[in-house]
Every structure is written in structure tokens, then in C-alpha cells.
Amino acid sequence: MIVRIGLSSCGIAAGGLPVKEALALVIEQQGLDWELQQTGCIGMCHYEPLVDVIHEDGSINTYGNVTVDGAREIVAAEASGTALEKYRIATDREPNDCLAGQVRIALRNCGTIDPESIQDYINSGGYQALQKALNQMTPKQVIEEIKISGLKGRGGAGFPTWFKWNATRQEPGDIKYLICNADEGDPGAFMDRSLLEGDPHSVLEGMVIAGYAIGAATGIVYARAEYPLAIKRLGKAIEQAQAHGILGSNIMGSDFSFDISIKQGAGAFVCGEETALIASLEGERGMPRLKPPFPSQRGYWDKPSNINNVETLANVPWIIANGGASFAAMGTEDSKGTKVFALAGRIKRGGLVEVPMGMTLREIIFGPGGGIKDDKKFKAVQLGGPSGGCIPEALLDTPVDYQSIKNTGAIMGSGGMVVMDETTCMVDLARYFLNFTQDESCGKCVPCRIGTKRMLEIMERLCAGEGKPGDIDLLEMLGQQIMDGSLCGLGNSAPNPVLTTIRYFRDEYEAHIYDKKCPAKQCKALITYLIEPDKCKGCTLCAKKCPVNCISGEAKKPHVIDQNLCTKCGTCLEVCPSKWSAVSVS
């Protein structure tokens, strides 16, 4: 029997390590001849820590939200040949609802193999695509296969992968570079982290194949410093691949030599832009430059360079092994294959899902995503992070492909989907994104550097209840000018969250400006917390929990909030027992 526990950052954050220790201890104590393995994240992050028990006949019981005590009970039950229903969320025959409708290509091994074992990867068919490419295909044929697949860059811009590879290949010169962009900067997207933590070899294999196709001998992974576990596992995978002759000279006995190193980013969103990323790799401030020349012409150290995102590269081995046509058979006319989406925010089942392109937003959010947390009302979904936009309920049946999403004013981006319900203020959300982009603007282009600052000031004014008539027009005008006058994607897209929320939620902006009201009751300057005297039983809970001690009253008598001291943190509303619901917000 094999016991497998999910230990990605999410599994560890949910308490996976003590559960692993408990499993190891009880397996040893009971003298069981079971193997305890670790694996990456299967994507059902809301069920972490997750434990799989794999029986001799291949059948699997999957247990979710496992606690230390639960781990002991599960081992005891499984040792006596039964399943523990209390924690069981799925079996191999009846997969969990989250996995229904998913087609896992990039995530094919995440959550099923040990990411720190190259043997596990090889046993699941790993590095066969590389062998096929090196032994049976010319670099041109590899590029042709990627062209047939229709694979587009999964990092944001959605540029055809084969085109970039071909452009780099055709450039003259002996020295070329293949760069993997693992600087997942979009807040709300975490598929790259999960891939690197859960299946680093698939990214390495994609890189070696890409290096072979474009004629590069050097690969570099530009990884976020905020992802320590991903960097550790990737580093280990590189060492293993070197020891197995998969990286280094004459890979797998061929004439092709290629090696990979990791460079850690230092935290700058703008480094997602190719030319800024290259500047950062060269040890400089990550500031973009004008294109052309494109990186495929003059990139890292002025040599032809090709930059691909983690998820893009993880798809490559599958495409080479199964043929481009099988990948292109999935998805839509405009967007082929599958895409990984990170579901987060006010959603029941947060996590990663990989589905064929063309599924509608509604199918994803209410299918694998399980709908809205606490059964509240769906309001909007933010796609594409700070460069993207908010899509309202009326457009929930939009199919998820590059063009359809673009038509709504949002972008596919890297696939982060942050779901908002009625408690999210769209004006505050747009302010939040603008605050982010304003902070991350590198400062090179004046419209981006100063324009985002001015827009942010207006947004802050709106949230503070000091909005003026004409502010909406001013925001739209500034937004257009920033988009027109900025060099790189950051400035070109920074106004998107504001412009799309104005487009779809204009009434909320108007409520902030003219009525001085926040319909979602989030903007602190525009709301008041009150204790309704006829409902308050004087349980004193709110007075005890109030962080600024501004609630007074005798026990068993109605309490009062001192409005001058109240910081509007909402603690009283949260702690007031639901049977009384004496705290109201208006």
C-alpha cells in the first residue's frame, strides 16, 4: 500500500507537515509495510491537507481536510481493510466533483507523483517526448508540431508559441538563450507555483525540447523569490536531470547539449514584460525597452532569446508525445487545447482547474468551482489580474477563449479568476488594482508613472466619500491617455480594472459620488455600524472583542457604539450571535 500526502505550499499551509509526521509515526507503530510518499497539489486546495491511500489492486481512497487525529484514524481504518467515510472525498472510481470536466495536460502529474523523484516522472512517461524529439525529429519538425497544436503563450499575451520559437531559430548566431518566465506576478494566479512544486520535471523537459527547437545551449529559469519551495524543488530536479544525462553534454546520447540554471527574481511585477525580465536577468533595474528589436532578435546579452511561461512549457512534452493534432482537437477555433485556471476569492472550492478552452465562465465557476462562498450572490469575476478586467453576471456565459475574453474588456492573462460576490465593492477593487499597478510602475514612461498616481488619487477620493461630479469622465480620459502613452504592457493595461468596472458597474461609482453610499458596504468612510437596541441582549461579546474598545453598555442591557472612536473594522458584526443579529451596517 502507498499513502500519499499533498505537500505543496497550500498543503503545508493547511497543516500538511504534522499530518505527514502523524502518518509516518502510526504506520511505524503498527508495523505496517506501507510506503509514505509526498506529492504536489492536485488543485483541490480547499480540501488540503489531502491524503491518498493506494491499495495493491490500484484502487484509491482520497481523504480531505485531514487532521493529525484524522491521519491516525485513517491508517487504523485502512489497516483493517475499510475506508474512513468521515474524511473520504473521492475514490478512483468516483472522482470528486472538482475534477469532473477537467482535462489535465499541463497538470497531468501534479498531485499524483513525487515531485522530488525523477524516477516517478520517468515512470509516468516523462522524458519520452524529449527522446522522441532528439531521436526522431529535426528542430524544424518540433516547431511544426507546436504550430499544428496551436499552442499560445499561457503567461498573458497569448502569442503563438511556434512563431516565437521559429523567429529565434531563424536568427543568425551560435549563442541563443531559452528563458522560462517563472515570475508569476499576477496576484490571484498560482498555476506556475503549483507546476514547479508539483511537477518540475515537466517544465524542464519542455525547456530542453524548446532549447533543441530554437538551437539554444543555455536555459535560465527566472523564478520568484516568493516561491521558496518551488525554487527548492526545481533546483533538485535540475540536479537529478544532470545526473541522469538529461541535462548537460550530449543529452540522451544525441549531439544536443543543453543546461539549465535558476535566477531568482527580486520582486517586481513589471519583470513579467519580456524586455524588463531580460534587464533584470542582466542584474539591472527591470525597466522595459522599446520593441523592436524583439528578444528573439536581441535579447539576453543582446543574443537571440526566447521567453516562455511555465505553463506553456509544461504543455510541450505532452504535445510532442501525443502529436499537435490531439492538442488542437480540444478547445475552440481561436484557442486550442486546455488552460489552467486559478480559482480564488469568494468561491466555494478554490484551487486549480484545467479545462478545455471554450468552456463558459459559468461552467467553470459553478462546475469545478462549486459556486459562490456561503451561497451569496455572484457579482463579477476578475480575469487577468491587475492588467485584466471585471466581467459581470450578464456575461457569465462568455466562452473562455482569448478573443471572447478580450471582447469583454478583460484579458485571459495567466488564468487567474478571482470571484467577487455582493460583499465586494467594485470601486474599492478597482482602487486596489490601481494601487498595485501604480506601485509597480517602473517609472520610465510619464503617463504610467504620474497618470496612475493621479487616477489612484481620484479612486481614493471616491472610496473616502469625497468624489466629485466629473470624476468618472476624468478617470476615463486619464485611462485612455495612460494606455496610449506607455511603452509596455503594464501601462497599456493598468487602467483596465477601472475602465471595466466603470463600464459594467457605473451605478456603484455614481452611488459613491452622488449618494455618498457604498452599496457593498465596504468603504469605511461611507458606512456606519449600529447596534439595534431592541435586538441587543447585552451579551457583551462585541464589547469584549472590539479592538478599540468603543462599545459600552452593561451586561444584559443594549450596548452602544461610540461612532467617534469606531474604526469600522466590522468585528462587532462578525461576533454578534446570529440568533440576535443586533449589529447592522448602513
Binding site: G188, E226, G385
Partner: protein, 181 residues
């Protein structure tokens, strides 16, 4: 650090390095001497040694690697990862990602500031904790999240966040007692 050109600061490389083997810094410098494009890696190495980028060390590097001080300062202030002031023993990164924002990260911030008695960016008087923000820790489905010394904690409530801090304080006290005993 208002301007890198001023030299009135009296600390020297030896004084900031009292707790740290100067040889470790020399190893770092030697490793990257003559390696083009390695400034960010050098600064990351310095920060690993000292917890922040001490000015005398940056000046030392400028001399040793032949890089202009302004260039080093420019890179050090461009990236969110680098700090120019000392930090506490444990660094708290409170995630400011979108998912954390819509799931109430501001309440966690209020609770942490209150528990530690510092503002965002501050270090406790006993130098045990520094509270800072991170753009996104990529654990969005566990929002709101914070990371302390590379370990992520989530989903947080204000009370859970306080408990994590108190537990670390407890461990600190225990280890101090053990050392004392």
C-alpha cells in the same frame, strides 16, 4: 538612506559584521567577481547574510566589484525584496493579493499590527518580528494568507493570525530558557 553619496554614517563594515564572519561576505564577493549581470544575486546573498542590505557592506561591494554606488542603490531600491533597514528574527510577509484582499486581508493586518504593536513595515522592539507586505504569495485558495520564514499560514482569521504569532513567541521563550539552562 536618503542619499548614497553622503558619508557621514559612522558604522564601518567591521562593526556591522561583528556577528557575521567577514569571510562569508568575501566568499560571496569572490564568487561573483567578474561575473557579468550578477548584481541582483550579490544583493540577495548579502541580504541572506545580514537580513538586510547594510550601507557599509554595499559600499564595500561597490569598491570590491568596481560598481558605482548609485547603480547598486538603484537596483536595491527598485525591487521589493530588498530592505535597507534591519529586520527582526522572523519576517512576516502578509499577502496583499487579490484573493486575500477580497477575503479580508485588511482585518488580518489590523490584528497583526495590534498584536505586535507595530505599523506595517515595522519591527518589534525586541527585534523578534518584522511585519511586511508581499504582493502575492500564490496561495490564493487559502486566502487570507501570511508567510513567516518561508512557511505559509492560511486561511487566517484575526484570531488565528494572533495565535500563530503567540506560538512563535512561546517557542522563542522556550529556546531561550533551554540556552539559559
Amino acid at each position: 538612506m536618503s542619499c548614497c553619496c553622503q558619508t557621514e554614517e559612522s558604522t564601518t563594515i567591521q562593526s556591522v559584521s561583528t556577528a557575521i564572519q567577514l569571510s562569508a561576505l568575501e566568499d560571496l564577493i569572490n564568487r561573483y567577481r567578474g561575473v557579468e549581470g550578477s548584481l541582483i544575486s550579490v544583493l540577495q546573498g548579502v541580504q541572506e547574510l545580514y537580513g538586510y542590505l547594510p550601507r557599509p557592506v554595499l559600499e564595500h561591494i561597490s569598491l570590491q566589484l568596481g560598481m558605482k554606488k548609485a547603480r547598486i542603490y538603484g537596483v536595491a531600491t527598485f525591487y521589493a525584496q530588498f530592505r535597507l533597514t534591519p529586520v527582526g528574527k522572523h519576517l512576516i510577509l502578509l499577502c496583499q493579493g487579490t484573493a486575500c484582499h477580497v477575503n479580508g486581508a485588511d482585518k488580518i493586518e489590523t490584528a497583526l499590527c495590534d498584536e505586535l504593536g507595530v505599523e506595517m513595515g515595522g519591527t518589534t522592539d525586541d527585534r523578534v518580528f518584522t511585519l511586511t507586505e508581499a504582493a502575492c504569495l500564490g496561495c490564493c485558495s487559502l486566502a487570507p494568507v501570511m508567510m513567516i520564514d518561508g512557511q505559509a499560514y492560511g486561511p487566517l482569521t484575526p484570531d488565528r493570525a494572533r495565535k500563530v504569532i503567540r506560538d512563535i513567541y512561546k517557542q522563542e521563550e522556550q529556546s531561550r530558557e533551554e540556552v539559559g539552562a
